[in-house]
Amino acid sequence: MRHVIAIAKRELRSYFVSPIAYAAITAFLLLSGYFFNSMVVKYVRDASLYDGQVERLGRSVQYQQFDVPTVILENFFSNQGVYVFLLVMPLLTMGLLADERRKGTLELLLTSPVRSIELTLGKFFGALTLVVIMMAPTLVYFYFLAQGGAWEPGVVLTGFVGLLLLAAAEIAIGLFISSLSENILVSALGTYGTLVALNFIDASASLTRSIWVDFIQFLSFYSHNLEFARGVIALRDITYYAGFLVLALFLTQRSIESIRFKRS
């Protein structure tokens, strides 16, 4: 445990002196702020158009009745998960192990009395902590939302839990891919490809119904994240993320062990 904390601390410290982390955090906050703002504007406008039509015609032809804060939260969290994380996560994970391999510091870590699982977890928690720090300023948005009246703190909470689980799964995948190469660009591109696939794999599947469609939908990050964004915490979503996490971290640990067998 001591080693895990030491490695995570070192990772965080290195993040904050590297331009990549600042670029990623800036991009994250700009995008998420933009999405939040445009959603508030859009749904508030839609709601007022609905009200206007109801007032004039007695019913609305274009719009359905909806609860503004709920729709904003749902769309914000699912958007955040799909687009913003997708852009930022590979930047944060690409160097985690690839950089250690390139710099030769992996040799230091593996000749120290550190187990490869401790190294894996240290890296994982270092990156996850950065994501938490990165997401913290977005809490301000909900303060603004609360000024507008009725809102649901419960959905904000489940939304954040969902994002945290999603971030953890994406970091674990990025960490594993980062262990496969010494080249951070290869690692970043590999992670982008994998995350795009995992986010959009269900996009083409919903036209028909079969067990395969169900399976592919189950694999997709999108549907699981959507549940949390709607304020639902379901065992099946938590199991899904937990399984993903354990598998990716296990693969990372095996991959680190296998690096030692390679000739360099």
């Binding site: 001591r2 070192r10 710099k103 510091t105 009395p113 187990r115 030692r260 067998f261 000739r263």
Partner: protein, 348 residues
């Protein structure tokens, strides 16, 4: 640091040769037995065995690609061997890797640095992962900084340091947890001559407190700082001995050279050949009337006095020196593709 490993203490020293004979009960701190590493069909290290005693500095010498780095990576636990065992201060590296690794300080060929950290932050991190207790960590880091002469740059980022300083940070990293064993892979190879001397002095200061294995291909370094040398080539041990002993034993015969004025080659040859004990003479004549004679005799027979007396009677003796085999020549003799040496030269 607790010492959980069972067999720490006195270990019988075996001569690392085919006969595997016990030569004494030294305290052996590093014991390498039948270490072998295969990469596919390529055998990088082939049945390597040697012992290092407490406080000794062992030099690892061999041409590029001889298996030096592979051996060191196996001794530090980075690379798992295909066969064989490594024992560090009584801990079996394969059975108790965590215990064994606590006892090793390792400087790979390229120092493993985090350029974005300051020297102090970096050393503190290394101390942490090397299990230096929190209460001793700060003091340990300061001690390593001081010993590696890094005081003036301790607050600077590693990225901003010169190559020589980076190498010293690498050394500080290896000693920060005060390990009994230090393994240094070519610690001076990429440095300029001044930095090289500084790093060498630093290693000299570490002698005694640590048992050291260091690899190098810089030959003068070997005779300067090592107690014994392991010469390896193509993954095999060619010789284990002190540099001085190797030089003597490989020579086969004694050789002296004299410089004489006012002598012709024929006359000098005839005169020197009659001196008792002389086994062979080669004469080189120079343009200005001087001649150089290289005189061989059996091992252990010193003919200098007789030769000097005989020559001084007829010609002007300008110089006389004993020729010894340089380390370069030993190295080439043992690792070259030329006439093979008869068997490995091993003496413990």
């Amino acid at each position: 640091m607790d010492s959980r490993c069972a067999s720490a203490g006195h270990v019988q020293i075996r001569v690392a040769s085919t006969e595997n004979r016990v030569v004494g009960n030294f305290r052996s701190v590093i014991s390498v037995q039948h270490l072998t590493k295969r990469f596919g069909s390529h055998v990088a290290v082939d049945d390597l065995s040697f012992e290092v005693r407490a406080g000794e500095v062992l030099g690892f010498l061999g041409p590029n690609g001889a298996g030096k780095t592979t051996t060191m990576r196996m001794v530090t636990g980075f690379l798992p061997p295909s066969r064989g065992s490594v024992t560090i201060d009584g801990c079996d590296l394969l059975k108790e890797p965590i215990e064994a690794k606590r006892r090793i300080g390792y400087l790979p060929e390229n120092p493993p640095l985090y350029p974005e950290l300051t020297v102090r932050q970096y050393l503190s991190f290394v101390a942490e992962i090397k299990d230096v207790p929190r209460s001793r960590r700060a003091a340990g880091v300061e001690r390593a900084i001081e010993r590696a002469s890094l005081t003036e740059v301790a607050g600077k980022r590693v990225a901003a340091l010169s190559k020589g300083f980076k190498q010293r940070v690498g050394l500080a990293q290896a000693i920060v947890h005060e390990p009994p064993v230090l393994i240094l892979d070519e610690p001076t190879s990429s440095l300029d001559p001044k930095q090289r001397v500084e790093v060498r002095d630093l290693i000299e200061r570490l002698r005694g407190e640590h048992t050291v294995i260091l690899s190098t291909h810089i030959l003068p370094e070997v005779s300067q700082i090592t107690d014994r040398v392991v010469i390896i080539n193509r993954g095999r041990v060619m010789a284990v001995d002190s540099a001085a002993n190797l030089s003597q034993r490989l020579r086969g015969r004694e050789e002296i050279a004299i410089e004489v004025g006012g002598a012709t080659a024929v006359a000098l040859q005839a005169l020197v050949s009659t001196v008792p004990g002389v086994a062979g003479v080669r004469i080189e004549e120079t343009d200005d009337g001087r001649a150089i004679a290289r005189i061989e005799s059996e091992l252990g027979v010193d003919v200098r006095a007789e030769v000097a007396r005989a020559v001084a009677g007829r010609f002007r003796l300008l110089g006389l020196r004993s020729e010894s085999l340089s380390l370069e020549e030993i190295f080439l003799k043992l690792t070259g593709d030329g006439p093979a040496e008869a068997g490995p030269h091993v003496q413990s």
